[in-house]
Amino acid sequence: MKSLRNYLDKIKPQFQKGGKYEKLHSTFDAFETFLFVPPHTTHVGSHIRDAIDMKRTMSIVVIALIPALLFGIWNVGHQHFLSHAMDVGFWDKVGFGALKVLPIVVVSYVVGLSIEFAFAQYRGHEVNEGFLVSGMLIPLVLPPDIPLWMVAVATAFAVIIGKEVFGGTGMNILNPALTARAFLFFAYPAFMSGDKVWIAEKADTFSGATPLADAAIATGGSVEFSHSLSDMFWGFIPGSIGETSVVAILIGAVILLVTGVGSWRIMLSVILGTTVAGLLVNLVGSNAYTNVPFYYHFLMGGFAFGTVFMATDPVTAAQTNRGKWWFGFFIGVLVVIVRIFNPAYPEGVMLAILLMNVFAPLIDHYVVESNIKRRLKRAKANTKLQTKVGAV
């Protein structure tokens, strides 16, 4: 550690004004602050009562994602060998999964960070650390068989169109990882939906339907799920790499909540919204899907992953506390609506969150307005009271 610090101090002058590599200043800065806590974090007496900076916050999110990633790697292997009816050991599954998943992670990081660094150099900004999280989120919401060049194209699209055109990290309207996923979803639907893509190199004879597919194609009175409720909970089902295991995601959720990085209001209100909408739909109960008990919605598809890691994105969610309740609640309601009533999109979490991302500033606006109105009213009532008292 010490020698690293000394080395950085030695080369630092070259990157400062007048130095040889002045142009690469922000690149140097990015690495220095990544390795060491910079001297300009807050210590005392500021309106931001915190001793950590954005890099630390983002690192916590990445740590919270690790259980989902590790489980995803194992599950990709597990599902593959299951579809071929082969009984192999734990490490074979992990090995196969790692060969599938890690290249996607590498491509996502390399493409995204190169673009981020290029923009930072060009604009003379600091390199922002937002992509450390996005770069991990993107692989986890993709199917395991996605071609790598598509990952590269989608990442580039998400970083440039989703983020940089709005001014970079902190200014984006849409969640970058979901922007990448939405891009792929609409650009290459054959690779992002259907019953083939959710298991890596699936055997043709194996059905391998996801719970969402089971529910979407069900006819008659009830849905025949090909997986048990506990399998859905633990995550032994086909799906996007990181979304299958509710348990692994819950571990991440606990990390986010304990450290205060993720908003409990949003997570809770998304669950509330889905519960309310799910129960309402159950009451109507006109076809098989509407008869699915509401708690199934928590375990199917990307609900858990989206609720914990996507909806709570501090940049694109509502900023006010009251706004967060509405923001989350509507995401929950929309998830059920899209899943059940729109046959073209079996999964509604991505679209629900993106749509509410767009509405988040509006929600905040009305929360702030109503607050101003309430306080004005109170101020008026007070002055009235005072004048009355004065008159007496």
Binding site: P147, W149, I161, F183, F186, A187, F191
Partner: protein, 217 residues
Amino acid sequence: MKDTKIKEPLFSAKNRKLLTAPLNKDNPITVQVLGICSALAVTAKLEPAIVMAVSVTVVVAFSNLVVSLLRNTIPPRIRIIVQLVVIAALVIVVDQILKAYVYNVSKQLSVFVGLIITNCIVMGRLEAFAMSHKPWESFLDGIGNGLGYGLILVVVAVFRELFGSGTLFGYHIIPQSFYDAGYANNGFFILPPMALILVGLIIWFQRSKNADLVDKS
């Protein structure tokens, strides 16, 4: 006295500017931000985009000419109605010609030919230019704006057809070996949102080249 007044040549520098300014610094789509709707709708393929560009050019040019000729006789309070009558008559003529000679393209364009009547570029140029300028200048302005509109349409359509369908004018451009190697057409380019993003990128590119177009704020 009559001879002392020098007649302006047909293509004087000022008139040439009427033709060329809309191609870049005064482009109807990227600078005046008019006619966006049809630019999104008809650019999925190159052929309809070109036909649409030509149709709009003809309509803008001739409606500019006619309204400019009538400009001193139109009562201001009903000028919009008079302009609409002129535009609508021209659009119907164009629509009939398209149906007679390029029926397939006309079917692809469907309502968007009729909607030229409400295309903001046509009304915009009539109000902003033809009502206050001489016929020849107005005619050139119409041609220029039609071409400026067409230029953006063609650029967007080339990208959308090439990446969305792998073709240009319906001929395969991207070789089969690409598809065999794992390439796939990008379905997002076929959808209207991508046209909006492409127009946005063109605006971005154009403004980074012309600093004086950037809003001062």
